[in-house]
């Protein structure tokens, strides 16, 4: 079985603060894998290491067999990352932003066109895409950024709180889009506080707290194991 992600004994410290304390997990190809946990659990740090932004203090991380420390540029070609707190260039129009980002991945003009068309479809912002990103609401920016993350159909998409700042309707749309792209062959690694979202989206989840993974499994499996009605109860029991 091809592994999209392999994390072995990963730890990360910021000075005296231990953000991740030796975790192991794997994400299969075309799988939607979620990290759930409270603020400060180490979710964002783990995702940032996978996205090659941060370097691990210890341990090994592979994306489709590529070592994030030794081959970061190869990993970046496979991965698309949506940070929890992200923005677009305020001085660029929505379309120009998408074009700018697509040019890093497109191999030809034809492919560039395809990426942009796909992004327009995902963002669903209509003519607002011709306006500067600085004029967008938080929700519109989030949709633009999600479109940017998915337009290239990367091998692995890392989504940190994908529906952060979105209203109920937009959040539902985003979940549908993520699900659709996973069905089309993209592996997804995401984090969220929203347990309902995780239940709806993910194939498997890892419960993470204080830099440690408490348990891993499918939503149904975990609920059965902890005799819980939902993931919130699972999490409380696992602590």
């Amino acid at each position: 079985m091809i592994k999209a992600v392999e994390v072995k004994n990963l730890s990360k410290s910021y000075g005296n603060v231990q953000a991740v304390a030796g975790i192991d997990f794997e994400v299969g190809e075309k799988e939607i894998f979620a990290l759930i946990g409270p603020n400060g659990a180490g979710k964002s740090t783990t995702l940032k290491i996978l996205a090659t932004i941060l370097k691990p203090t210890d341990g090994e991380v592979f994306v489709y067999g590529k070592d994030v420390q030794k081959e970061p540029e190869k990993v970046r070609k496979l991965v698309s990352y949506l940070p929890e707190e992200a923005g677009a260039y305020k001085n660029l129009k929505g379309t120009d932003y998408l074009k700018f980002m697509a040019k890093f991945y497109a191999q030809s003009e034809k492919e560039l066109g395809e990426f942009i068309e796909r992004a327009k479809d995902i963002a669903d912002l209509g003519t607002r895409l011709n306006e500067k990103a600085g004029t967008y609401s938080k929700g519109m920016t989030r949709k633009l950024l999600l479109a940017r993350a998915l337009m290239t159909k990367p091998d692995l998409t890392i989504l940190d709180e994908p529906t952060s700042g979105l209203d109920v309707i937009n959040a539902l749309e985003v979940r549908e889009i993520v699900k659709r792209f996973a069905r089309e062959g993209i592996s997804v690694l995401l984090s969220s506080h929203n347990m309902l979202e995780i239940e709806f989206l993910s194939d498997r989840v890892a419960l993470i707290d204080k830099g440690l993974i408490l348990d891993t499994g499918t939503s149904e499996g975990l609920k059965e194991k902890y005799k819980a009605r939902n993931l919130e109860e699972v999490f409380r029991s696992a602590l």
Binding site: Y14, G15, V17, A19, N39, G40, A41, G42, K43, S44, T45, K48, A51, T52, I53, L54, K55, E73, R76, K77, V79, S80, Y81, L82, P83, E84, E85, A86, G87, A88, Y89, K90, N91, L92, D96, F100, M101, K103, F104, Y105, L112, L145, R148
Partner: protein, 430 residues
């Protein structure tokens, strides 16, 4: 498409904002406006000036004095009557700014070699630069008249002697030696001309360095503030390319901005000083400069250009590192301060002092600052101190290489996100 060019265009687009364009246009307009205003005022001052004259003496000497005023571009308006106080009051009511009172017995006293005072009353209706110009000119007229009268007196008393020889029995011929070349001329005129020419180099350099550095610090700080840096760091392009694109774009926009500002500054200066090269040609200084080899040839300009370019690169590399320390746009502005000091110290020393006369620690400090070298380059080129020029360029190059390696290193590690100045509590997003 080339990924680097894609990034470079984006950086340029991000930097050229409406605010920047408005600020550039406004500054040029302001410089141009002030320059034009100064030029107009200067022209006004050079135009025929009205002068009220109360002639209480009716001798040929007083008539001659009034005649000389006319040749000095004054339009003499004779005040009627013999009352001085009334003349002062009457002139106050007009737009004439100067009243000349020639006292009774003026001509006679000149004939008997008695010192007689004429009185001038300046109506200071404005404190502008040209406000006191009339009285300066009239003093020059009086000096010329004194010269004429004393010469006339000597001629009459000692007809066989030239008045010039009597008054100035010793004359001097001034020679200037630079390296192995010598020319006849006044050293103060040459030194003044060289420093006025050299003045522009530090001004241009200081402006370019400050503008370009501000651009690159802000560009990095804005990436952090707008939360775009993390995304940018995950795209498939090398970190060195990200750093270089930011530096190139900032350097380019900073350079263009500085050139535009200098264009406006030239208008501003021209308003006050006129064309320096024309003035030099008129005074004969340029001929002396050529004889002394104090002219910049193509090679000199090329070396100057290389030095300026490397100094800009050093500033950009340093600004890149400082930009990483900034959390947002506001803190980026504070981080510009150390760079400003590094530019201003050699700037003022190069204008007001001679580095050779500094104490050893001050000299070490001056030469350790990379920006000192381009500030001193014009004088070194004029004086053919090529070794100093070469060492300066090599030193700046070495500093640039070290700084760019440090900058690239910072960008290739997670320090680009976690490095901050210690004046704030370190925030870590887990």
């Amino acid at each position: 498409m080339n990924k680097f060019l894609n990034l470079l265009f984006k950086e340029v687009k991000e930097l050229i904002t409406l605010q920047l364009l408005i600020s550039l246009l406004f500054t040029i307009f302001l410089f141009y406006f002030i320059g034009q205003m100064a030029k107009t005022e200067m022209k006004k001052a050079m135009r025929t000036q009205k002068i009220a004259v109360l002639n209480l003496d009716d001798s040929p000497f007083s008539e001659q004095l009034i005649g000389n005023l006319k040749t000095a571009n004054f339009q003499a308006e004779m005040v009627k009557g013999l009352d001085k106080q009334k003349a002062i009051d009457d002139t106050k009511a007009t737009d004439t700014n100067l009243l000349l009172v020639i006292p009774q017995g003026f001509g006679q006293s000149l004939e008997t070699q008695e010192v007689k005072e004429i009185e001038t009353y300046s109506y200071l209706r404005t404190f502008s630069l040209v406000g006191s110009r009339s009285s300066i000119i009239i003093n020059a007229v009086i000096r010329a008249l004194n010269e004429y009268l004393s010469n006339d007196f000597i001629k009459k008393k000692i007809p066989d002697f030239s008045p010039e020889k009597v008054k100035n029995p010793i004359k001097s011929r001034d020679f200037i030696i630079v390296k192995d070349r010598m020319a006849e001329g006044k050293p103060e005129a040459v030194a003044g001309f060289v420093s006025s020419q050299s003045l522009f180099v530090p001004v241009i350099l200081a402006m370019i360095i400050i503008y370009a550095s501000q651009m690159v610090i802000s560009a990095i700080a804005m990436e952090k503030q707008n939360k775009t840096l993390e995304t940018l760091l995950t795209v498939p392009i090398s970190r060195t390319s990200i750093v270089t694109a930011k530096m190139f774009a900032s350097g380019l926009v900073g350079l263009v901005s500085a050139v535009i500002y200098m264009f406006g500054f030239r208008y501003y200066m021209a308003g006050f000083m006129g064309d320096i090269s024309q003035a030099a040609a008129a005074s004969g200084v340029s001929g002396v400069m050529q004889k002394l080899g104090l002219t910049m040839d193509t090679r000199g300009f090329l070396i100057l250009g290389v030095s300026l370019f490397i100094a800009i690169l050093v500033a950009l590399a340093l600004a890149t590192i400082l930009g990483v320390l900034a959390e947002d746009y506001r803190s980026a502005q504070s981080l510009l301060m150390p760079l400003l000091f590094l530019v201003m110290i050699p700037y003022f020393i190069s204008i007001f002092s001679d580095p050779k006369t500094l104490s050893l620690p001050a000299k070490i400090l001056l030469y350790a600052i990379p920006f000192s070298h381009p500030f001193l380059i014009t004088q070194n080129l004029y004086l053919e101190n090529y070794s100093a020029v070469l060492y300066g360029i090599l030193y700046m190059l070495a500093v640039f290489v070290i700084l760019i390696l440090v900058a690239a290193r910072i960008f290739s590690t997670d320090k680009v996100l976690t490095m901050k100045l210690k004046f704030r509590k370190k925030k870590v997003m887990l």
